[in-house]
Amino acid sequence: MKKLMKGNEAIAEAAVRGGCRAFFGYPITPQNEIPEYLSKRLPEVGGCFIQAESEVAAINMVYGAAGSGARAMTSSSSPGISLKQEGISYICGAELPCVIVNMVRGGPGLGGIQPAQSDYFQAVKGGGHGDYHMLVYGPNTVQEAVDIMYDAFDKADKYRMPVMILGDGMIGQIMEAVELPEMKDPAAFPKKEWATDGTGVGASRRIINSLYIEPDVLEKVNHRLFDRYKELEENELRYEEYLVEDAEIVIVAYGTVARISKSAVNALREKGIKAGLLRPITLYPFPAKAIAKVAAEANVKKFVAVELSMGQMIEDVKLAVNGAKPVEFYGRTGGNVMTPEDIVEFVEKEVK
């Protein structure tokens, strides 16, 4: 049965059903409904909720909990995610599974509280120090966010890395009808032999660590991490193509901007302009090969990257297209959101 839910609350419930039993966070708009919901919900299932003293503390609580075997998560919005970056880098270095939700708001600085996609670079290129990535999703509906959240801990555990859900602010605030999946049984989750549950002594001792003083050892660790990122590309890459087959203009957009773009594609088609949409669902790994393939099609004349930023994802689109076709950019920022008509108007000018 479908239930009408606000995005943030639906994501929070999906987290619990996906096995989350520990949440650590600090208030910031526009994601407050996630901690608020979980502060009530987690104790009902024997889980732990702590409002930390800061985002810095929150992410390090996640480190401790994840390191000792819990399905732990945090959520925040842009300025708070910036504060978490050191901790995220440590989590990646120590190969700990966890889930991080970023309901992105406009920046830089304190910015605004309205929707944005201007944390794309931070999310997919690293964000903190060192060589690392995370599995990053950009859901475009509340249902998709729920489904991704529901499986996020399984993916995090499988690859021993954080999964980030990059919401664009809108996804957290809109109300949509969602089908909530069934509660997963924590007893069925794979045992984490590497976790510091306290039982280790002597040979069975576990050490959670990201310090490797020997260059050769650290280099090996870096290669191990990047081998795993290759696995992500093979197993977890997700994207959607909409009317791309015969398209002359291919819009690339993710998150709720992709929904707006889809409406624009339909309107353009009505006007006789052959537009299509390629929507990355995983932002890391990025569907570069799929974009390259489309770029090689003779019918495709041009790409348009549409984003709520000054142009961030477009860099990955350009790398994928690799000069085969022109790549244009249309974006709004500051918390402003484009309408389908705005995109239609932009594309119409481009085809002239």
């Binding site: 003293e53 810095v56 503390a57 819990a70 002594v201 959670i208």
Partner: protein, 249 residues
Amino acid sequence: MATVFKKTKMLTDVPFHYCPGCTHGIAHRLVAECLEEIGCEGNVVGIAPVGCAVFAYNYFNVDIQEVAHGRAPAAATGVKRTHPDTIVFAYQGDGDLASIGTAEIVHAAARGENITVIFINNAIYGMTGGQMAPTTLIGQKSTTSQQGRTVPLNGNPIKVCEMLSTLDGPAYIARAALCDPANVAKAKKAIKRGFEMQMQKKGFSLIELLSTCPTNWGMTPVQATEYVKENMTKQFPLGVFKDIDKESK
């Protein structure tokens, strides 16, 4: 032949990397002996800091996490909330705990987080080469206070025990000095009491250990212990600052 001294099984056989005369080694041994004496082998998680004790994960014979600079109380919170019946301790230096990690220690204490914190106050940033710490004494020289620390320029040293004992969360807060056998014995008693508080689920405990850094103080080990006794204990008086069992009696 009778055994008069045996190394505790809660330490591994890895030799310490600490400088000669450094009291980190004594502190490790005391913590490990207390863990053994309270009988929690196979039910402990340690948290190692960033500082000279960063390699503590090689020495304590327990499950252990190495965490970011200053964040040990936060990570310990995450561990403890996941395993409430496991003994969780954090081991932190003065830069780690009283400078970059002030928020985390204050709030872990305020929450009454049921963990034990071993606070190594050597009045200096040992690992990075002897810079001024939040606990550096007035007049004490460091590489970033080369004429000696002054109040107008650097403010006063932070008294962590006094500060935290104003909070309601802590169950036990004490300061001891690793400067001679009698004081070392007192330090051990305090550490054990901290762990016992945790076992009884009474809440947060912190034991500050006045420690030496002969290398960065530019002293011999003997001079350094003298310095602790003569100078550090004046700025940082020894004693028990909070013990909720005694309060309620």
